[in-house]
């Protein structure tokens, strides 16, 4: 319940304040958001499986975000930022899909 409220509060805050993304962070924010989404869906699946631990969630959330941003940063430095961003998005997308498939099995028995 609190988790759902937290998500709602974040969305509302974003809509109210409409902050500008700092120019330096511009390429990393979308990747970070997708990585965080991956962590969230992984946590939801773990919760349904009964093995959720909030410490693990916090660590995986931040490590996902930091590693994704670091990969893109490295790609930018190597001159393959665009391709590496695509690669990270693809990998995270696959993980999100498999997690959601598992969540679906728990929630809808299908």
């Amino acid at each position: 319940m609190i988790a759902a409220l937290g998500l709602l509060v974040g969305v509302v805050l974003g809509l109210i304040f409409t902050p500008d993304v700092p120019p330096g962070l511009d390429p990393y924010l979308p990747i970070a958001v997708v990585a965080a989404l991956d962590a969230v869906f992984g946590a939801l699946r773990a919760y349904l499986e009964g093995i959720f631990d909030d410490k693990v969630f916090v660590v995986s959330f931040f490590s996902n975000v930091v590693i994704a941003a670091a990969i893109v940063y490295l790609g930018d430095k190597l001159g393959v930022g665009g391709q590496l961003s695509t690669g990270v998005i693809v990998v995270l997308g696959i993980r999100i899909f498999s997690n959601v498939a598992q969540i679906r099995r728990y929630v809808f028995h299908a």
Binding site: M1, I2, A3, A4, L5, G6, L7, L8, V9, G10, V11, L13, G14, L15, T18, P19, D20, V21, P23, D26, P27, L29, P30, A32, V33, A36, L37, D38, A39, V40, F41, G42, A43, R45, A46, Y47, L48, E49, G50, I51, F52, D53, D54, V56, F57, V58, S60, F61, D76, G79, G81, G82, R95, N99, Q102, R105, Y106, V107, H109
Partner: protein, 257 residues
């Protein structure tokens, strides 16, 4: 805890899915109904996620500039724009050339049209198709003892023509043109099939002095008429209207060469 990372747990076997599903759903329901301490942390992180996601969505929607683009992308965009601009410039040059040509054509055509119209007007006056106005003389020939001589009338017309007469009519009825024929008839003259009687009034447009001089020569037309007993009056007019016109005719045999 068997596996620390939640997203690496193996997929459950389909046989044990039933009981595990029930447990998961109960946990989900319990979490929604009974908030716990751990949910606060999750809530904070999800708030951060929602904030970041909304920020990114808004940035993506509103920011169409290239502020966040990479250098190589910008170079690609720039060179693409340069090529497009070059093409557009070529198009502009080509179209301007076409426009110049068309304007030149239009000027030429307008000039040709004006020349043709002027020529058509002159030819219309010459052929007697349209009324004409201008300075000239009015010659009134009144018969005396007998009918006027056709040769004298023809001489008069020829003298007037060589003096630069541009349009002539007789008695306000008959326009004299290149095809006009004069013959004697009982009671008067027949010009182009129309019977005319004395006095004959000849309206002539041209230079009045020259025309009058042409008629007043020694042994000229006036002298011929007076010898035959007719009286001739010549009046110089500043503005003379010639209203008689001829119907346009189509040449039956003569063809332009």
């Amino acid at each position: 805890m068997p596996d620390p990372t939640p997203d690496q747990t193996p997929e459950p076997e389909p046989t044990e899915a039933g009981s595990a599903d029930e447990a998961g759903r109960q946990r989900l329901r319990a979490a929604l109904l009974q908030p716990s301490r751990g949910q606060v942390v999750v809530g904070v992180l999800l708030a951060a996620l929602g904030f970041a996601a909304i920020t990114q969505v808004r940035t993506n929607n509103t920011d169409n500039t290239f502020a966040g683009a990479r250098e190589s992308d910008l170079v690609d965009v720039l060179s693409g724009l340069a090529v497009t601009s070059q093409h557009a410039q070529n198009d502009i040059n080509r179209l301007e050339t076409t426009r110049r040509q068309l304007e030149q054509n239009k000027r030429d055509q307008t000039a040709a049209l004006e020349a043709a119209q002027r020529q058509a007007e002159e030819l219309s006056i010459l052929a007697g198709l349209v009324p004409a106005t201008g300075p000239g003389i009015r010659v009134t020939i009144t018969e005396g003892r007998g009918p006027v001589d056709v040769d004298s009338v023809l001489d008069t017309i020829e003298e007037l023509r060589s003096a630069g007469a541009e349009a002539m009519q007789v008695n306000g009825k008959v326009r004299l043109v290149a095809q006009s024929a004069v013959e004697s008839a009982p009671g008067g003259l027949r010009i182009d099939g129309t019977l005319l009687t004395s006095p004959y009034v000849l309206d002539v447009i041209g230079d009045p002095h020259t025309l009058q001089g042409a008629l007043s020569l020694v042994d000229g037309p006036i002298a011929q008429f007076q010898d035959a007993g007719a009286t001739v009056d010549v009046d110089q007019e500043k503005a003379l209207d010639i209203t008689a016109v001829r119907k346009p005719t189509t040449s039956q045999f003569a063809q332009p060469q």
